[in-house]
């Protein structure tokens, strides 16, 4: 019987670790950088021009709890996005908006209101990512109200099944758990710690469950 020498083992360990680091570095260009504080990143299917930016600024200025938007530069041109797999989303106009004075205004954050403001100005967000809070929950107020025990139970189950079914497709990677608040008629979602949440996934899920979200708010005061 032949046993591995210490040198062989050390080399294999270093090769494995090196390979994993290399794959990580090559395939995940996002470095492990600190997450900005309470920001919303909008991905707009919209060409970039100064007129659009002005319109966007005007639309978002109607939302009092938001700061002025910042359009991210270095967006790849559409042709490149079409030709390169995986960068289609990168082509979209990305706008980062910080929440004004988060300590005061976090309770006022309502993503449904934000989307409505965008729609009013003719913009449509393909994706809306919320990040920067370590620990919080999202509450989607369900309309029509879901308060009966049967509705609460079936909505809870349906949401669980929806998450399970869509996770392999890349949805709800940030999802930790959920519950249905029968008293307030709300779907409560708990993201993972420090996770970046795609709010449009939540709103789409609410619609799939047969509801309309009257509001979608952020709550950072404890977990429950």
């Amino acid at each position: 019987m032949t046993f591995a020498s210490v040198r062989q083992i050390v080399i294999l360990i270093l090769l494995t670790a090196g390979l994993l680091f290399a794959i990580d570095r090559k395939m995940n260009p996002r470095p492990a950088e600190p997450v900005p504080r309470s920001t919303i990143r909008l991905w707009l299917d919209h060409p970039s021009c100064s007129g659009c930016l002005t319109g966007l600024e005007e639309a978002l200025s109607d939302v009092p709890w938001l700061e002025a938007p910042k359009v991210l530069e270095k967006v790849p041109p559409l042709e490149q996005a079409r030709q390169t797999a995986g960068v289609v989303n990168e082509h979209r106009q990305q706008v980062v908006v910080a929440i004004r004075d988060p300590e005061k205004n976090l309770k006022r954050v309502d993503f449904v209101a934000l989307l409505a403001a965008l729609h009013k100005a003719g913009f449509s967000a393909a994706q809306m990512e919320f990040s920067g809070l370590p620990h919080y929950r999202l509450e989607a107020e369900l309309a029509p109200t879901c308060s009966s025990p049967a509705c609460v139970e079936s909505t809870y189950k349906a949401m669980g099944e929806l998450v399970l079914a869509t996770k392999p497709k890349g949805w709800f990677r940030w999802f930790d758990s959920h519950r249905v608040d029968g008293v307030n008629g709300a779907l409560v979602i708990y993201p993972r710690m420090n996770a970046t949440v795609d709010v449009t996934e939540v709103l789409a899920a609410v619609n799939t469950l047969g509801f309309e979200a009257a509001s979608l708010t952020v709550h950072a005061d404890g977990a429950n």
């Binding site: 019987m1 032949t2 046993f3 591995a4 062989q8 083992i9 294999l12 360990i13 270093l14 090769l15 494995t16 670790a17 090196g18 390979l19 994993l20 680091f21 794959i23 990580d24 395939m27 995940n28 996002r30 492990a32 950088e33 600190p34 997450v35 995986g86 370590p134 620990h135 929950r137 996770k167 392999p168 890349g170 990677r173 930790d176 758990s177 708990y190 993972r192 710690m193 420090n194 996770a195 970046t196 404890g222 977990a223 429950n224």
Partner: protein
């Protein structure tokens, strides 16, 4: 590769399990926490109300340690001393029981008691059923990581469900995991498997030191793999030799020990699990360690008692004192948590359960205290009974003190604001 950002993983990781048993096991089960190491990774762990951070930090009290925390530490210290003394005295106690009590019961009973005593004191148990059990446990231990890797791959995770993979690189990592799982399940090139597991563990430091510490139990099987022959696929490996078992025990124990201190440092995470699963707070071990503490701090004292219970368990496994008893209790606790308390999400714990069973069923257990035992036996043989007693007592008290208090004192200075 891992989808969540460094802070996310670290936060999650900082931000983790009946019947009638023999009286000894019941006593022992009252001495271990019914919560397992890393279950907070897989289950809900939302903190419903904040803990009183001042409980874990410098404040009023001896050496700035909160009086309730100090009380729990003192209880742990007392148990450590008592069990270490019992360990030194196991031979005379065993002889007394067997010669004066059991001899009267006759052959069958005598043999059962002899085997039970051997089991409890980590001596070889010469019984056919135990050999069969040992062989099966070794097979389970060596192959179960393959199942866990397959499970993780199908859940878009790396090694454990707590490491979700980034979609951009998920596929390649899932294939690597499946490849490794195939090697493990077919027992092919085990040294390579061990090196890959250790390499992956090193990679986890990329996502924070707490992540790597929490994943330390994966190293226990790697220790056995790297010391197996390259031609492992031609062998039926059904036993773990003494040297391998020692390293397995050390790795497993250090993992528990580190996780215990981590719970005191990152207290919110485990408190969040307890908030979601309050039944885990009703634990005989924790109740024992909490005895005499203020009822006004139930969650804080529970976290402290739980963390120190793990420190104590880890220490006993590291030094090889009543290894079988501790690993059996932990295997029982993990199994209960997996099957009863948390359910399917805990299925990856098949692996640590297998590791614990492999230690529990081994006939090649050693103790790190053998040198001290040789000294005290020499003193006993030369008639220096007082010196012998003082050596035993002194060694137990000093070791127990060093295990608990310096580190506890240090944790009260740690800044948790960035957790």
């Amino acid at each position: 590769m891992v989808l969540v950002r460094r802070g996310n993983v670290a936060a999650e990781w900082r931000a983790r399990r009946a019947g009638t048993l023999a009286p000894t096991l019941l006593l022992a089960s009252s001495l271990v926490s019914s919560s397992a190491e890393a279950h907070e990774r897989f289950v809900k762990h939302r903190l419903k109300t904040p803990l009183h951070d001042e409980f874990f930090l410098q404040g009023p009290g001896l050496m700035g340690i909160h009086p309730d925390l100090l009380r729990i530490a003192t209880t742990v210290f007392t148990i450590l001393v008592a069990l270490m003394l019992l360990w030194y005295l196991r031979e005379p106690i065993g002889e007394t029981v067997e010669r004066r009590i059991v001899r009267r019961l006759g052959g069958g009973a005598q043999q059962i008691v002899h085997q039970l005593a051997g089991f409890l004191t980590d001596k070889p148990v010469r019984a056919r059923w135990f050999q069969v059990l040992r062989e099966w446990c070794v097979i389970l231990f060596l192959r179960s990581p393959g199942l866990v890797l397959m499970y993780s791959a199908t859940n878009d995770s790396l090694v454990m469900p707590s490491y979700p993979l980034d979609p951009a690189s998920a596929e390649i990592f899932k294939f690597i995991q499946v490849g490794l799982a195939i090697l493990i399940l077919t027992q092919t090139a085990l040294p390579l498997c061990g090196a890959m597991i250790i390499g992956t563990w090193i990679y986890l430091f990329r996502w924070g030191w707490m992540v790597a510490i929490d994943a330390m139990p994966v190293l226990t099987v790697a220790v056995v793999y790297v010391t197996s022959p390259w031609q492992s696929h031609k062998l039926a490996i059904i036993d773990i030799n003494e040297k391998q078992m020692r390293w397995l025990r050390l790795t497993l124990g250090v993992g528990f020990w580190a996780l215990g201190w981590l719970k005191l440092y990152n207290h919110d995470l485990i408190a969040g699990v307890a908030d979601s699963f309050p039944n885990i707070m009703n634990d005989p071990m924790v109740r024992l360690l909490k005895m005499g503490t203020s009822p006004g701090w139930p969650r804080e004292t529970w976290v402290a008692a739980f963390g120190l219970a793990e420190v104590m368990t880890g220490f006993f496994v590291v030094v090889g004192i009543f290894s079988r008893v501790w690993t059996l209790i932990m295997a029982f606790v993990f199994t209960k948590l997996m099957l009863v308390d948390f359910g399917w999400h805990e299925i990856p714990h098949i692996y640590p359960i297998a590791a614990l069973l492999a230690v529990m069923s081994s006939n090649k257990l050693t103790s790190e205290f053998e040198r001290i035992e040789r000294i005290e036996e020499r003193l006993g043989r030369s008639g220096k009974s007082l010196k012998q007693a003082l050596t035993i007592l002194g060694a137990s008290v000093i070791v127990a003190f060093l295990v608990v208090f310096p580190m506890l004192y240090a944790t009260t200075f740690l800044d948790r604001s960035k957790l």
